[in-house]
């Protein structure tokens, strides 16, 4: 990312908006102990209270403060999104760059594997995987989402690699006799940074939505506090039928907002690194 790109990034309304939302949520996650009035596990309030000044979002059927749960839930939800995004990106970068750079049978093999993972539907596979594993923390969930989610990025990066490989500056580096690893890391990689960043945000969006879906089905660790598990408990205690609609509405809306910020950043970075999409 050159200085010019950073300027473009700030001028891009979508990028700025997405970054501001993400920053706000990050601050909430970091300062959760200061913002949340109670511990998210504390159960000594009256159950099913409506929203009030002492309990902004009311209490759960077990008598936990929903607002505190939502605030603390920001941490684990963001963590799952980021860590999964990073792992997914690393797999995608390795597979995509190696396949695209070396070509030949290596490319054939890796592309075949990529295409298989691209075509096998993610959520059913995740459900099956999560059902077999005993889930005691978020680690297996991160694993399950990463395993099923890397293929799209690998495919995009591979085709970008193939385009860049035929550029003159890469050919020149080749002729000079530079080591392939050096060419990949120092000549090609910087030119793909935009695409990689865009891909990371796409993967993070996928991770957050998948985590919520799995948690909702009761396949996550339902005792860890994420926005997904809050929704799971809300649904299992029939929050909507008991008139506790805010228990359901707020965490879901926050997932959508976090997802939108990832999506905005994904879209904007794509727009900045691909001049054809601007204008």
């Amino acid at each position: 990312m050159s200085l010019n790109n950073i300027k473009l990034f700030i001028k891009n309304k979508k990028a700025l908006f997405g970054a501001v939302i993400l920053l706000l949520l990050l601050l909430v996650a970091i300062f959760a102990p200061l913002i949340a009035p109670y511990s998210p596990h504390q159960v000594d309030f009256a159950p099913s209270l409506p929203p009030s000044s002492t309990h902004l979002l009311g209490t759960t059927s077990l008598g936990q403060d929903i607002f505190s749960q939502v605030i603390w839930g920001t941490r684990l939800t963001l963590l799952v999104g980021f860590v999964t995004g990073v792992i997914t990106s690393i797999i995608a970068i390795m597979v995509g760059l190696i396949a695209g750079y070396f070509g030949g049978w290596i490319d054939d093999l890796l592309s075949m594997i990529t295409n298989v993972f691209l075509v096998i539907p993610g959520l059913p596979l995740m459900i099956i995987l999560a059902a077999y594993i005993t889930v005691k923390s978020v680690v297996p969930i991160i694993f399950v989402i990463s395993v099923t989610g890397w293929a799209w990025g690998a495919r995009v990066l591979r085709s970008q690699m193939i385009t860049l490989k035929s550029r003159d500056f890469v050919k020149a580096a080749h002729v000079v006799g530079e080591h392939p690893l050096r060419i990949i890391l120092f000549d090609i990689f910087p030119n793909m940074l935009g695409l990689i960043v865009a891909n990371f945000f796409g993967a993070a969006l996928y991770a957050v939505l998948s985590e919520a879906g799995l948690a909702f089905l009761g396949l996550g660790n339902v005792n860890a506090i994420t926005w997904g598990t809050i929704l799971y408990w809300a649904q299992n205690n029939q929050a909507l039928l008991l008139g506790q609609w805010q228990w359901m509405a707020v965490p879901g809306m926050l997932i959508a907002i976090l997802g939108t910020s990832f999506a905005l950043l994904n879209f904007a970075v794509d727009e900045i690194s691909n001049p054809k999409l601007r204008r």
């Binding site: 979508k14 075509v119 099956i128 009761g218 997802g259 999409l277 204008r279």
Partner: protein, 327 residues
Amino acid sequence: MRYLLRRLGFLLFTGWAALSINFILPHLMPGDPAQVMIAKFQGRLNPQALKALSDAFGLTADKSLFVKYLEYWQRIFSGDLGFSLTYYPAKVTEVLADAIPWTIGLVGLGTIIAFTLGTLLGIISAWKRNSPLADILVPTALFFNSIPYFWLSLLMLYLLAYQLEWFPLGGGFDVFAIMGIWDKVGSIVYHAILPLTTIVITAMGGWLLTMRNNMMSVLADDYIIFARAKGLSDRRIKYKYAARNAILPSFTGFSMALGFVIGGSLLTEVVFSYPGLGYILYQSVISLDYPLMQAIFLFISLAVLLANFMADFIYAILDPRVKEGGE
């Protein structure tokens, strides 16, 4: 022809891979799933069900993994997928057969409507860029694309079915009424409206964005500028020149999108108690009905592979270049 043969080869290969993953997963997991289940269902399952269970996992004899693998294929080709534990004594294939039409109807119709609407809006948003309407379309699409399917389903169910009582609270049709054929069709349509709307709303955004970006790239190409210079009508440039070329990448991205829609529909079905595959997958997961779970995964994978093959087929018709070879 070469292109289609290659796609067919890929179809067979991915089919083999998906079925093998389906076989190998329970064997990779720590502990023996059959033992875990037998312990879990102790006293609740009758001897036949236990027998079916141990057959399904090849528990009976100490066979090698490879022999079990061959037997697995044998069972698939003979269409014998064992007994469901949740719906015992129903066979897995019978449970599947009841659920499949519901899901295919819902996902199929949802995908077609979302694809058509999203693509059309994508064309508009690229064509009229910098107009307020088109500018608002992109962030809106990004937002709807980020909503959890099941959450939107729950809210719609609560507002439109529970509060306003405009729609039924769930199910595929009214099971208690005695109806003629047309009343039944009406009842099915009535029950499908809410789940279908959820799927269309959340799936549409992705198609809109794909189409918009493709369209933007195409509009920058020389032949569009030339078409303008020739004085062709806007309408002709928009649909015959730009959109026709821009729609092609939508088909290559089909596999990924379809995977998303299916995942989302499964959750939507759970919320609406819609009697399709998602609902029985959920039932099988909460009651650890491994044979049924495996069979559903098997069917969904094969259906997606086939749908992809069809998308490739349409792609070849739309873009004659791929038939001649090359990517």
